[in-house]
Symmetry: C2
């Protein structure tokens, strides 16, 4: 009799990856370079020094180094909450009656409640090492703010978090947990920055957006001595750190003789998806294997499926470098009835390029379907997922049901990025039948596209 | 060089215990029998059938069977979220500068957020197996209600949860998560039961209590066909199921060549503490080892340290059997400013007996000190603890600091029962300096003692 695969596969400390994997080193064509909005020339590493600490600016630009050693201090921190389990969803499979084998990598078992801690600890560590005196960031749903507050508290670096006003008001417990880790939380837009004041002047009633909070955090970083800005998604450096998710997943799957036919992740800015797929995409880029990879995004913020592949600012205030990515326009704000995260107007330039070149698929899903999948999953697998993560659950269930029709025994791997503990308002709204779907019209989206920046000779 | 002990020790599925351990089988003197309030005679297994399903009534009374096989269906459920990690608190040790080795068993990595799921799944399974059609229970802080809702949803048994009104109103997210798992949640006291109506009549403004919610849940169970009551603490059967915590801890410690000098757990009704210490207490009772064991309770609800060892009802409405235990009187309600759980008026009869016979110590701690320990721990170990669990953290830190003075390299094991995600109101109150301590006066407590039941020939 074949030995049954355990429900949960944990790597030992010895098995844990000691290096991050830099996907760009294996890409046939690299993403287009970031553009300095002042010079309209490709940004250099030095251009980034006022915003990011030096090591992170280097990681942002380095598309050559394939494997980056994880510093010991970060490895030690990882060992406090990692390895995260790879879990075989036996009960979900049974409930669906599918011949497919469903695995998920669960990143929610730490106090930040999500995978965001993987990059937060790296960014806080490098800032500390450079002798910086403080950091700034933004947070939307609050997972990133919590993760970075934890990391900064551990390394003893003061942190200011610009929290999207809608979240600040609707998620007081998220704010409280960030404050428990000593961070200063400011509702964005605020009157503490020029960018915030400008946005408030134009729209005093705004509930804020990620792009706007980024503008404020970057402004505060560049105008405060020995202060830098850190970001929880989109960036190359973040995908590098998050590769720990995929690397652990791959080792764990190998240890049980498995390899995924399809890999599914939710996609907002791309931090989780980029990390999860990294080593599998390496196999695809180098011809070793050919798994399908699927990005799942909300229908209310469909950057990959309905956005333009173009240069755009990373923030609403237009003070960051421009990146070529799938974007809905940097002033796009998703409908207020959209629950949870995945609200960013753009998508990681690396993932955008891979999607553009056909290495990756994307689907957009309406949120009532997502919550339907979330509650089904919770009842079968005992984990209440974050709404973000539940996008991947929905797509994994769809794949598994297709296998039921065709009889294929596919191996599905999806990323379960976090828990839904702080999203109970959304769950209640779903339970009470008060949750709506919202799909922007083509006209809605065109307004965003019309405002994309013009770059002579590159983008008209 | 000696191999460094990993931060997290996970058992494999093969190493996981297949049997629960029944501590009573090794006790030199057994706890006094439960008393039927109608007959004032020791309760029989049959007396319990209207309240508990048969297998659980049997487990409640069985003080002979040392090891009880865990049914396969429960083992399979355990494998979805267990083994829970045994964690070496390297960073806490470093922050304290102690030579002590601190380990904790973390039970918060499941959606119920605590160890309560260990008994919930067992109780739901046996009820299903007996063909029961519904269950009732009460919940205070909400951990038990969440856990049982998860288990009942998995086994397809409708559940009604009487939630202490104060929690119902102050913890809407707790209510929401219980509802997500399909349970019916009623604020207690309610007008759906005689017990609730009576309490409301006497005190219309009451914010409820655990004892009162138990009365309502028991009444509904015994007056509804094919319905039974389940309880998350205090009972012998609960301690039996929770022995999984201690059994896993012991195997994990043995695997790294460790044995605890002192074992520390928070104590409300005793479910976590009783489970954690079980196999170590076996060693103590059988003379194999002599570890210290410490119960940590809130100063505002000090059943062990200031209660009377006497027969008392398990509920405020006085409809349950009477148990001999340390109690503050079944009408005792802790001060409303007391955060979190550990609010029960009594203590597990097994633990009460062991404490009475000198096998166990107890301390009472004020809550501001508890939250101080909780935030220190969170910043060092990245886990935000439940206020309940933080009682054990406080005492573990005190032990470690004593070791710092004496230079002793003691091995400390404590139970980290759950996460504080649903306790952010209390954390905020602590952060803002608005948290008060409350210690009942001797006169306060005497009022409870004066109402202890009279049992001719046994208790005057």
């Amino acid at each position: 009799m074949m030995k049954k695969i355990p429900h949960r596969i944990y790597l030992t400390e010895e098995q844990m990856p000691k290096q991050w994997y830099n996907l760009r080193a294996d890409m046939k064509e690299l993403p287009a370079p970031m553009m300095n909005p002042a010079t309209l020339r490709p940004a250099t590493e030095e251009d980034l020094y006022p915003v990011f600490c030096k090591e992170l600016a280097h990681q942002e630009m380095d598309d050559k180094t394939r494997y980056v050693p994880i510093p010991d201090e970060i490895l030690e921190f990882y060992k406090m909450y990692r390895p995260s389990p790879l879990i075989r969803a036996y009960n979900l499979e049974k409930a669906l009656g599918t011949p497919a084998k469903i695995y998920y990598k669960f990143e929610g078992n730490n106090t930040s409640g999500s995978h965001k801690l993987n990059s937060a600890v790296a960014q806080a560590y490098y800032a500390k090492k450079q002798g910086l005196k403080s950091l700034t960031t933004e947070t939307g749903a609050g997972q990133w703010g919590t993760a970075l507050a934890e990391a900064c508290s551990f390394f003893g670096i003061p942190l200011t978090v610009f929290m999207v006003k809608a979240s600040y008001e609707q998620k007081p417990f998220r704010k409280a947990i960030i404050q428990t880790f000593d961070a200063n939380v400011i509702a964005s837009p605020s009157n503490t920055t020029d960018a915030g004041r400008k946005i408030l002047q134009e729209n005093p009633e705004t509930s804020g957006s990620l792009g706007c909070a980024i503008s404020e955090a970057v402004e505060k970083a560049v105008t405060t001595p020995d202060c830098r800005y850190v970001l929880g998604s989109v960036l190359n450096q973040v995908l590098l750190h998050q590769s720990i998710i995929g690397l652990e997943s791959k080792i764990a799957m190998e240890s049980i003789g498995e390899y995924p036919d399809v890999i599914i992740g939710c996609a907002g800015g791309g931090s989780n998806l980029g990390g999860l797929i990294a080593p599998f995409m390496q196999d695809k880029l180098t011809g070793k294997a050919n798994p399908r990879m699927v990005a799942v995004e909300p229908a209310s913020c469909p950057s990959l499926t309905r956005g333009k592949y173009a240069y755009d600012f990373c923030d609403t205030g237009k003070i960051t470098p421009m990146a070529k990515m799938y974007t809905l326009g940097c002033e796009f704000i998703p409908a207020p009835n959209h629950a949870g995260g995945l609200r960013y107007h753009g998508m990681s330039p690396v993932l955008s390029k891979l999607y553009h070149d056909g290495y990756m698929e994307a689907v957009a899903v309406q949120q009532t379907k997502v919550f339907n999948a979330a509650t089904l999953f919770a009842k079968q697998e005992t984990i209440l997922p974050a709404p973000e993560s539940a996008h991947a659950i929905y797509a994994a269930i769809e794949e598994a049901l297709k296998c039921k029709e065709t009889g294929e025994e596919k191996t599905i791997l999806f990323g379960l990025t976090g828990t839904g503990y702080f999203d109970m308002t959304a769950y209640t709204s779903y339970l009470e039948g008060k949750m709506n779907d919202f799909i922007p019209t083509d006209e809605d989206l065109q307004k965003g596209f019309d405002k994309l920046p013009k770059i002579p000779g590159i983008q008209g």
